[in-house]
């Protein structure tokens, strides 16, 4: 009997469909797809955990404000400072508010907010859920008759999806303020004039596409980080890896999504 069990436990050489790494990659993509499908399935089943959604939104949004404030303001100043010489060569410094506003609203605010949130919030979610997984806190939640997926994952994903667009709008304002400070110190432009010039070229589609991008970025950060954290294995080493992978994967996907949404928006702009 002992021999038989020994044989059963002997490792058989594994066969791969393509190769070890590609098989692992595709099975991970498949598992991630199932995770997203589970999110949408659980999302509409009560209880809705409103209290926890508000708590998560507060943690994600309010606690990111100092970093967003600082980076937004600096981005505005630096971008304006760097753009001035090029425009100055053509004697077109009067176009600076317009250029800066377009750059900030169309590209910089959503992208920088997405990347900063991926770094700050994504790593936090990945590490927190990863740590809960390896210390059996997620199992403990499940045996106390609480659906951990709903309580931990759905609330965090909704938190990031709701808060990133708000943070993006806040960052855009701060970046414009930074730009104004720079323009005002060089050209003594008034705030009203700066805003009038700046928003002259901005259309509804610009703001709409930025908000849309931010919603997509927020969802990506939440779902990727929760997936990494929720599926953490191999103890504390796994927790570190979950935090790291959450950030790297979120940032990578944000860039891909940026390209796609810009392309789609441009089609609408042309038509």
């Amino acid at each position: 009997m002992h021999d038989a069990s020994m044989k059963l436990n002997q490792k058989q050489p594994r066969r791969y469909i393509i190769s070890e790494k590609l098989d692992a990659f595709f099975s991970d993509v498949y598992a991630f797809g199932l995770f997203i499908a589970r999110f949408f399935r659980v999302l509409f089943i009560p209880p809705y955990e409103f209290k926890e959604i508000i708590r998560q939104s507060y943690t994600i949004g309010v606690k990111s404000l100092p970093l967003i404030t600082l980076t937004g303001f600096i981005t505005g100043i630096v971008f304006t400072k760097q753009s001035r010489p090029s425009l100055s060569d053509f004697g077109a410094t009067s176009w600076l508010p317009s250029l800066v506003a377009i750059a900030i609203i169309r590209a910089l605010a959503p992208l920088v907010t997405g990347l900063i949130t991926a770094g700050k919030v994504g790593s936090n979610i990945g590490a927190e859920l990863g740590s809960m997984k390896v210390t059996e806190q997620i199992d403990a939640m499940e045996v106390s008759a609480t659906n951990p997926f709903k309580f931990l994952v759905v609330t965090r994903v909704l938190g990031t999806t709701c808060m990133v667009p708000l943070l993006m709008l806040y960052m855009a304002l701060l970046a414009l303020l930074g730009a104004f400070v720079n323009v005002h110190s060089n050209e003594q432009t008034s705030f009203v004039s700066f805003i009038e010039n700046g928003f002259h070229s901005i259309v509804f589609l610009d703001i709409f596409s930025s908000v849309l991008k931010s919603i997509v970025f927020g969802f990506t950060i939440g779902i990727v980080s929760c997936y990494q954290g929720y599926n953490t294995t191999q103890g504390t080493q796994g927790v570190g890896r979950a935090a790291n992978t959450s950030v790297v994967m979120s940032m990578f996907l944000i860039f891909i999504e940026e390209i796609i949404i810009v392309q789609i928006t441009n089609w609408f702009r042309v038509t």
Partner: protein, 257 residues
């Protein structure tokens, strides 16, 4: 620290397991487990690390799905019921984790309140506080109510973990390595607590352990898991008096070294 008089009702099964199999890849962990735990009975499951002891109780709590076999808990087939029904059943199962599994982001009070607030919404704030205080009193740690899990010792964490399960007044208790990593005195206190819980709440319990002292102190019956099957079952003295060579080294290591 002798065990007190117990009333084990052998007509009522708390847990009934038949022909249970579970594999992870090519590793066949459980290979046909049969086990009955009666109301008011403590069964200690002994075995070396990696023999599938924890897997067994995770299947009972519905955290893992078996490949084959049936698990009945309080008359409910764990493998056949819906998720909603499983959630209702879990309210009657207390699970004490090896790592205690206290929520790091919550104080002791919040840890204990968590299952109550989520599952007994009709309770007033005063009733919740009273239940928390009572559960902490039962494990002798009333003074820790406002502390964070990180501020507690290993033994205290285990006790709080048990208190968190007691707050829902479970009919079944599952203990995963309750004395692992604890000094002998604290281990003895945990063993006493397990017996007290059984006495107070008349629970049916499974105590997963590789600590023979714990098995002897808490188990009305001992089942030894080896190579995915129970190889010995009975009272502690009978099992270790059987002369089974496979158990000898286990016994010697625990009681001689």
């Amino acid at each position: 620290m002798g065990k007190r008089e117990k009333h084990i009702d052998r007509t009522k099964q708390g847990i009934s397991i038949r022909d249970l199999h579970k594999s992870f890849g090519t590793n066949h962990v459980l290979r046909g487990i049969d086990l009955d735990v009666y109301q008011g009975e403590n069964v200690a499951v002994l075995g070396r690390s990696g023999t599938g002891k924890s897997v067994l109780i995770k299947i009972i709590a519905g955290l893992l799905k078996p490949d084959k076999g049936s698990v009945d808990v309080l008359g409910n087939k764990v493998t056949a019921i819906s998720y909603r029904e499983l959630e209702q059943l879990r309210l009657r199962i207390g699970f004490s984790f090896q790592s205690s599994a206290l929520y790091d982001s919550m104080t002791v009070r919040e840890n204990l309140e968590f299952p109550l607030l989520r599952n007994s919404k009709q309770l007033s704030a005063k009733q919740v506080t009273q239940a928390v205080e009572k559960a902490l009193e039962a494990v002798g740690l009333s003074q820790t109510i406002n502390q964070w899990p990180a501020e507690l010792s290993g033994g205290q964490r285990k006790r709080i973990g048990i208190a968190r399960t007691l707050i829902m007044q479970p009919a079944i208790m599952l203990y995963d390595e309750p004395t692992a990593g604890l000094d002998p005195i604290t281990s003895m206190e945990i063993n006493e607590l397990i017996n007290e819980v059984q006495q107070k709440f008349n629970t049916s319990s499974i105590i997963i352990t590789h600590d023979l002292t714990c098995a002897k102190a808490t188990g009305d019956r001992v089942a030894v898991l080896l190579d995915g099957r129970f190889v010995q079952e009975g009272s502690f003295d009978d099992v270790f008096a059987s002369g089974d060579e496979r158990l000898k080294s286990f016994y010697d290591y625990n009681f001689i070294t």
